[in-house]
């Protein structure tokens, strides 16, 4: 039965102020059931306050074949990290 049903990706927001994070995937016949299944599968230990479900086929993913072109060019550019600044002593909470 499950194999005939579309796959859904589940995103859970663990608390207000944080973003939705990918939690896993599940099978369900439609969005209504996907949301309820996600509630039962991924938030039964109080993991969330909000759930998104997205059809897996609607997720556009980068291809493993393009990995080098996509990600390697950023590998030798450490100056893009904000690590070259001296933080003044008076600045707290950083």
């Amino acid at each position: 039965m499950s194999s005939a049903q579309p796959l859904w990706e589940v995103f859970v927001r663990s608390k207000r102020g944080l973003s939705h994070t990918h939690a896993g995937s599940l099978h369900a016949p439609d969005a209504h059931m996907a949301l309820r299944n996600a509630r039962d599968l991924f938030t039964r230990r109080q993991e969330g306050v909000s759930i998104w479900v997205v059809r897996a086929t609607d997720v556009v993913a980068s291809s493993p074949d393009e990995k080098d072109a996509f990600f390697d060019p950023s590998g030798d550019k450490p100056y893009r990290h904000p690590t070259f600044y001296d933080v003044p002593d008076s600045v707290t909470h950083l």
Partner: protein
């Protein structure tokens, strides 16, 4: 605080939840799909939690030193006072969902009413249960509509399951002297007052599911007095044998 009436009332509520939980657990690893397996076990765990609180309270108000385990595992069939509806065999998934719909549409207004019980402990249990059964009703409603308004096969099986469990629902709304006394004290919910919500809720779902309201006038009853259906003894045997074979066992 010993109060035999409240004790007996909590026993009824607790037995309803316990027996329904046990029946739902029979679906473990047998559900139509993995996701539904977890969903059903969540419902069962909610009900088991309710029954633990209720049986503990029943034991405390009885004042004979019996705890939740004594009441769940060491009573025999005629001592159980659950309604017969909850003990009915699961049948197929459609029949189970029909039963879930009929029970949940009763449990929601029941716990809503009990949130205002003059018994503070019972009201506290109700405050937690009311959110749980609201989800149970939503779950059952979704499936009944999906299967009823689904394929020809699912419609037939949904209607058949509904027809089979329907007559047993009306025991839930029966009154007796115990309930009359407790309603007068503001402890219990008046069962007759729960029926209008149940009727309109169930009929709305059935209409959406293109199912017909069963027309039978047969009204089996007796669970509250310890009379049970044939399959109930087997349910108890499975539920109780471990505790009786190994008293005090835990893990």
């Amino acid at each position: 605080m010993v109060d035999p009436d409240v004790s007996q009332y909590c026993l009824r509520l607790g037995d309803d939840a316990l027996v329904l939980a046990q029946r739902l657990c029979e679906w473990a690893a047998r559900s139509p799909q993995l996701e539904e397996d977890v969903a059903l076990m969540n419902l069962a765990l909610d009900l088991l939690g309710q029954s633990r609180s209720l049986l503990t309270l029943a034991g405390a108000r009885e004042g004979a030193g019996r705890d939740e385990d004594d009441l769940a595992f060491l009573r025999d069939e005629p001592d159980f006072v659950n309604a017969q509806l909850v003990e009915l065999e699961n049948g197929d998934f459609g029949r189970t969902m029909a039963k879930q719909l009929l029970v949940s549409a009763y449990a929601l207004p029941l716990w809503q009413a009990l949130c205002g019980s003059t018994d503070a402990d019972l009201a506290a249990i109700a405050g937690k249960a009311v959110k749980e059964v609201a989800y149970h009703l939503d779950h059952a409603r979704s499936w009944v509509v999906r299967l009823g308004d689904g394929t020809e096969e699912s419609h037939l099986r949904m209607q058949k399951g509904l027809d089979e469990v329907w007559p047993y629902a009306f025991e839930l709304f029966e009154s007796d002297p115990l309930l009359d006394r407790l309603v007068a004290r503001g402890v219990a919910a008046d069962p007759a007052a729960l029926q209008p919500f149940w009727r309109s809720c169930v009929e709305e779902v059935l209409a959406e599911a293109t199912l017909s309201v069963p027309s039978t006038d047969w009204r089996p009853s007796g669970g509250r007095r310890g009379t049970h259906t044939e399959s109930f003894g087997y349910l108890l045997a499975e539920m109780q044998h471990l505790h009786r074979s190994h008293p005090g066992v835990s893990w």
